[in-house]
């Protein structure tokens, strides 16, 4: 059963092609890590999939009910408290006040946000707490599909790990499907069922590799061996760490 199907997606910014003929399918309950070198158009692809930008070519077929999204920058409303921020997506629905409060409380519990954190403004929260709030905001709509656009790139190593665990646990509990964009293979190997690699120039998906077992059941040793195996033996990952910041837009 497919949750999301991207067919022949192509996109260009001011005439410069960033994506061309990308096909990608995500099954129900499947977490796909989308990796690729910097500037390969990963972010553009999830933005298209989530409906933030309309693709120049191709078709997006969504078979899920609702989606949520977590960005690299938390994108919290500075004038609203954490509680108000988490409730923001519910303002698009016709939900009563009491129901909204219940939903916010549930989402906050899932991300281990405490009551006194909820009444603080984003400026009063640390970077990790802000990202936690952003994750709670994505979960509050009770999505069956989630988009993660390099959500933990700006966090330090320890915090990153905690956030990954949070996502793994939430995915296991709520059974949502997801696209998780990252350029960190270790992260991809921890959180996903499958790794899809975008072509260096955004010309389609170069290939994908299923990962053994479920996320959260792999030991650190296994994750490390997986990544080493990909980097040394698998030609698919040859260009993954290529970056030329002079040509990257």
């Amino acid at each position: 059963m497919m949750a999301l199907a991207l067919q022949r997606i192509g996109h260009a910014y001011f005439g410069r092609t960033v994506l061309d003929a990308v096909d990608l399918c995500v099954g129900t309950g499947e977490v796909v890590a989308l990796v690729g070198p910097s500037g390969s158009g990963k972010s553009t692809l999830v933005h298209i999939a989530a409906g933030i930008i309309d693709p120049v070519r191709g078709k997006v077929q969504r078979s899920y009910r609702r989606h949520g999204m977590v960005f690299q920058d938390p994108h919290l409303l500075p004038w609203a408290t954490a509680r108000g921020n988490i409730a923001y997506p519910l303002r698009m629905t016709r939900m009563g006040r009491r129901d909204r409060q219940d939903r916010v409380a549930r989402a906050a519990a899932l991300t281990a946000l405490e009551e006194d954190h909820l009444d603080k403004y984003p400026v009063e929260l640390s970077g990790g707490m802000r990202q936690r709030t952003a994750i709670a905001r994505a979960l509050v709509v009770e999505p069956d599909f989630l988009y993660f656009d390099e959500p933990f790139t700006a966090l330090d190593v320890a915090l990153k790990r905690r956030m990954q665990d949070l996502v793994i646990d939430a995915a296991a509990a709520a059974h949502f499907a997801a696209i998780f964009v990252t350029h960190d293979l270790m992260e991809a190997a921890r959180v996903a069922h499958r790794i899809a690699v975008l072509d260096v120039n955004g010309r389609g998906v170069a290939g994908s590799r299923p990962l053994p077992g479920d996320p959260g059941t792999r030991s650190d040793r296994a994750v490390f061996d997986l990544v080493q195996g990909f980097l040394t033996d698998d030609p698919l990952f040859r260009h993954i760490n290529d970056i030329d910041e002079r040509t990257a837009a």
């Binding site: 933005h47 989530a50 409906g51 933030i52 989606h67 949520g68 999204m69 960005f71 920058d73 994108h75 409303l77 500075p78 004038w79 609203a80 923001y88 997506p89 303002r91 698009m92 409060q101 409380a105 009551e115 603080k120 403004y121 984003p122 400026v123 009063e124 709509v141 988009y147």
Partner: protein, 279 residues
Amino acid sequence: MQTSTCRLRPLAAIGDRLGRVARFAWSGWVGLAGLSVLAAIWQVGHETYGDFILPSPLATLEATIAILGDPEAWDILAETAARAVVGFGLSTLIGTGLGVAAGYSAASMRLARPLLTVVIGVPPIAWIVLAMIWFGSGDGTVVTTVLVASTPLIFVGAAEGILTRDRGLDAMARAFGAGPVKRLMTLGLRHVAAHLLPALVVSLGVAFKVAVMAELLANIGGIGSELAQARANLDIATALAWVLIAVGGLIAVEYGLVHPVRAELERWRTAAQPWGIKR
């Protein structure tokens, strides 16, 4: 535990609000200190140049109280205030509407920029003359002049607000299915408010000043006409008293209306300040 915090939240919110009001009132002392400095300099001027050139602050205050004791003076004050507020209200509506539209459309913003320069460049006094020809001696003249003088400020504030909005928040709202109207209501206008309020404070002051000026030049009642009369009688104390009344009216509107609204909208900024410099 969940229910008890829920029940306590309204109480806490009221306490929070009272605290903010008290803090705001307490900050009034600083304003009073600043005004006292002005009064002291005024007193020095009075003692140097004598009663005829510059009456003392106390004498002016007495004249003010004498004027305010007369119910007719309140009608005059209300007349000027009504003209200024109507002009201000109209320019807020027009300026905000056009500014928001121009902020979203880069082409109309480019078209509007030179027009703004022209409108701002024409001195208000020229508008008064034109408005007198067009509308005769009546409310229309004053309101038109106020409108022309304060709309550009508000327009620029609103347009800047939309132009500098956080595109990332827009993307976030789109990801959660917000249409253009919902995005304008929940993000755009909220961001505009931060830029618009300072512009509103300035243009409210402009509205009062221009209203008095237009009344004085067109001799159509209100505080302006009283000032013209005081000038004709060389009654400096009365003239200064009317100035004091006009400024007092402005301060009442600004601190009674504009600042509380602003404080309510900018709570998060106060939260960002380190402890100890909250006022």
